[in-house]
């Protein structure tokens, strides 16, 4: 294989250079898309699932005639980027990659958000979903969720669950589990998934609900034990891991990632962008790219996405209230 890459490398560099300089106006399919450069704002640092989805879609849209770039504007759990898009010119040239937190959880955590997830944004399409996995350190003598619950009940107040931060799906899944299973476990928040995994691997903390894609390599290497996934069905990348429901715990949650536009964007432009994004998500290349990192592609219609935002928002409001996780008052 080593022989194969050198030529591809060089050609690839040239191709990359031209594609991203935004040269060449490839007309055709993009007739009703806004002219000029379309920017997808990712409200988090690069490298995460939201960034990978946005870049894959942007690249496909660029290859089919538009010029689409990704702009990372991280800060305040996504609020900085969301606020920026909410206040942008509603001409379809500035769009937001909005994960579950920005649209359905943060409104219940923070009293001052700087944007309204419903009044400020028009849904375009739900890109996909990623489940969380319940993973435990091997020192915990539990091979199933039932055994974990029994162990936690025998040792009340002893187990710690790590999360990637306050108010993240990892934290709230832990709170849901705590309530549904009736166990006493302590939440220990971290700044992101990597430092939390580090302490889980060394046994400082005993369990965690982490996004399946980042947890998976450690499960496969048997450094951590995967007990369940939080999605309604088993995940194709880890078919041997049961769902929480199957394991007898009535809790279900997936992280999801969608695209939205400023609410005043004209309807026909919304439609054109939405269609183009759905086509990108359904293309073989993007599909393969995203499924590899654990994303289950949805690519639904704007109305379906709007309905999901409404139902999810209601669900997480309750979870946040139950967990007492509201951050400011």
């Amino acid at each position: 294989m080593s022989q194969a890459y050198n030529r591809r490398t060089f050609v690839g560099m040239l191709a990359g250079a031209t594609a991203f300089a935004g040269l060449g106006s490839k007309a055709s399919a993009a007739a009703s898309l806004p002219s000029g450069t379309i920017t997808i704002v990712v409200p988090f640092d690069p490298g995460g699932a939201n960034d990978i989805i946005a870049r894959a879609v942007a690249q496909h849209m660029t290859e089919t005639g538009a010029t689409v770039v990704v702009d990372n504007r991280p800060g305040a759990s996504g609020s900085v980027g969301a606020q920026y898009v909410a206040r942008s010119e509603p001409d379809g040239r500035t769009l937001l990659m909005a994960p579950i937190g920005v649209l359905a959880i943060n409104p219940w955590l923070f009293s001052q958000l700087g944007y309204d997830p419903v009044k400020d944004f028009a849904p375009l399409t739900l890109a996909g979903t990623v489940p969380n996995a319940l993973i435990v350190h091997p020192s915990v003598p539990a091979k199933t969720v039932a055994e974990l619950i029994a162990y936690a009940k025998a040792n009340p107040g002893k187990l710690n669950f790590a999360s990637m931060g306050n108010g993240t799906t990892g934290h709230l899944c832990g709170e849901m589990f705590k309530k549904a299973a009736g166990v006493d476990i302590l939440h220990v928040p971290y700044k992101g998934s990597a430092p939390a995994l580090k302490d889980l691997l060394s046994g400082q903390v005993q369990l965690m609900f982490d996004n399946l894609p980042t947890a998976l390599p450690h499960m496969r290497a048997e450094k951590l034990r995967g007990l369940a996934v939080t999605s309604p069905a088993r995940h194709p990348l880890a078919p041997e891991v049961p769902t929480l429901k199957e394991s007898g715990v009535d809790a279900e949650a997936v992280a999801w990632f969608g695209f939205v536009a400023p609410v005043k964007t004209p309807g026909e432009i919304q439609k054109a962008i939405s269609d183009s994004m759905i086509a990108a998500l359904k293309s073989d290349k993007v599909k393969a790219q995203l499924e590899k990192v654990g994303v289950t592609i949805s690519a639904n219609q704007p109305a379906e996405f709007a309905a999901l935002i409404a139902s999810e928002s209601k669900k997480w409001r309750q979870v946040v209230a139950d967990a007492g996780a509201k951050i400011d008052n």
Binding site: S2, A4, Y5, N6, R7, R8, T9, F10, G12, M13, G16, A17, D45, P46, G47, G48, D51, I52, R55, Q59, D71, N72, R73, P74, G75, A76, S77, S79, V80, Q83, L109, Q112, N160, G165, N166, L186, V188, P189, Y190, K191, G192, A194, P195, L197, K198, D199, L201, S202, Q204, P213, L216, P217, H218, R220, A221, K223, K292, V293, A325, D328
Partner: protein, 497 residues
């Protein structure tokens, strides 16, 4: 698979080109203040979609350690830390430049980085697995103890009054409190500004107090149009300079390699630690801050070694230890390689290719950097009215590019004014910046350790590693405070600049 298989792959034209491009881009990114490897790698990530996984990671890692070389250039020439990890290089590098020794400082920085780069490459190749295991023993309690030791080290950074140094550390700690509290999620000192929710930008503060503050105070002192620096006597280090630098480079390489493995700290912590160590070991600590060559050689070696060994947690455990590593991990995932504990077994050719490319990359960086030393020192011939506006513009653009927030540019300006005031009042900014770096990590880990121990502090002291670190901190504190308290009265005369 062995190192030589990796070397063969790394020597393939495409990968060699990727390595060269990475090193070159890294150098430029390092020179440009504010624009750091995180922003650059984020921008270049899409291009690597078209490369092979090996070429992609070779190029991205080249940018990262290349930036450590480039970052010293602006620190030495114009007192602006081009990278956060070159903050301490400003302390003595800039003074050396003012004494006509810019060429020597630049060469020593490049040589130190090169030696440290080779050393760290060896460390990754031969002892990465045991080192990673060692790093895994660092839990919240151990991090807290290490940060405490670091804070004591911050006192060593100071050269004038110890009371003022302590005050500056406290200011730094307070500045570090701004932002979202990790445990409760509450916002502290943010005045409901979303721009402050993630804290103050370290890059903006460092550039403000050093670079912009320096411009203000220079303009305040001199009226003439040409720069007042001593004439350049010689460009290259002589045998004496090299002899003085050898031990600091060796110690810096070791300190950097060790601290770099610990997630979170990495390059910046290692450069501060190396500086404090050199000053403490020196028979003439009063020379530090006045252009001591050891104060450039040690930290510049340490930050490069630290940057390279910060790859170890990702390459062995699959855990990215800092934002740059997280980006590189994201890049690998796009190529279908999920970094994890199996990466060493499943992708051993890739592992050795990256290591071999580090060897080549460090060689390329010396070749890129040394010939430019003469050119860079010509910068001093530029009159102020051209140089200063350029610096200010570059600082503003650089600061903005990190988070794309105009707010950060305001922070830069504000801290420029504050930096000027501090210089006038003989307060040193080094301890403040170290407080700012260490404070949030110290607090986060202390509170996490207390949470895990259910509020029992004994747990922190009884763990062996944290006990040793805390004891060292205590002893160091006594060693520093006793002679310093006696010397306090003399220090009044030491300040001349």
């Amino acid at each position: 698979m062995s190192f030589f298989d990796g070397l063969l792959v790394a020597m393939e034209p495409g990968n060699l080109l990727a390595c060269f491009v990475g090193a070159l881009v890294g150098t430029f990114v390092g020179v440009l203040p504010g624009l750091g490897p995180v922003a650059t790698i984020a921008m270049l990530l899409p291009i690597t979609y078209h490369l092979s996984p090996a070429a992609a990671i070779v190029m991205l890692s080249g940018i990262y350690y290349g930036a450590q070389y480039g970052g010293s250039i602006t620190a030495i020439l114009v007192n602006i830390p081009g990278e956060t990890s070159t903050v301490v290089t400003c302390l003595d590098g800039y003074r050396m430049a003012q004494k006509g020794k810019a060429g020597i400082a630049l060469s020593i920085a490049a040589i130190g980085s090169f030696v440290a780069g080779l050393f760290a490459t060896g460390v990754i190749a031969f002892v990465s697995v045991p080192l990673a295991d060692f790093a895994q023993q660092f839990g919240p309690a151990e991090y807290f103890a290490l940060m405490s030791l670091g804070l004591v080290g911050a006192v060593v950074l100071a050269r004038g009054s110890i009371i003022k140094a302590l005050a500056m550390i406290a200011v730094g700690l307070l500045l570090g409190l701004v932002g979202t509290d990790v445990n409760s999620g509450l916002q502290r000192l943010t005045f409901n500004l979303p721009q402050l929710a993630d804290g103050l930008s370290f890059a903006a503060i460092a550039m403000g107090v050093f670079g912009i503050g320096e411009i203000f105070s220079t303009l305040g002192q001199k009226r003439s149009g040409a720069q007042v620096v001593a004439p350049i006597e010689r460009l290259w280090p002589n045998r004496e300079d090299l002899a003085a630098s050898a031990a600091p480079i060796a110690r810096g390489s070791i300190v950097g390699s060790l601290l770099g493995v610990l997630p979170g700290g990495g390059a910046i912590l290692s450069s501060f630690a190396s500086y404090a160590l050199e000053k403490k070991l020196s028979r003439h600590p009063e020379r530090f801050g006045q252009g001591a060559i050891e104060g450039v050689a040690g930290p510049e070696s340490a930050n490069n070694a630290g940057a390279q060994t910060s790859f170890i947690p990702m390459l062995t455990l699959g855990i990215p230890s800092n934002p740059v590593m997280a980006l590189i991990a994201g890049g690998l995932m796009l190529h279908g390689i999920t970094p994890g504990p199996q990466i060493l077994a499943e992708q051993s050719l890739l592992f050795w290719t990256v290591i071999a490319s580090m060897l080549i990359g460090n060689l390329l960086l010396v070749i890129i950097n040394i010939p430019f030393v003469g050119l860079w020192t010509k910068l001093f011939k530029l009159p102020y009215e051209i140089l200063f506006p350029c610096i200010v513009v570059i600082c503003c653009v650089g600061t903005y590019s990190v988070n794309k927030m105009p707010f950060d540019v305001l922070v830069l300006g504000l801290f420029g004014v504050i930096g000027y005031g501090l210089v006038k009042l003989n307060f040193e900014v080094g301890p403040m910046l170290l407080g700012l770096v260490l404070g949030p990590m110290l607090e986060e880990n202390f509170r996490r350790a207390m949470l895990l121990a259910r509020g029992d502090p004994i747990n922190i002291i009884t763990r062996p590693i944290s006990a040793i670190l805390l004891a060292t901190a205590l002893i160091l504190l006594c060693v520093i405070l006793l002679p310093n308290l006696r010397r306090t009265r003399e220090t009044v005369f030491q300040e001349e600049a």
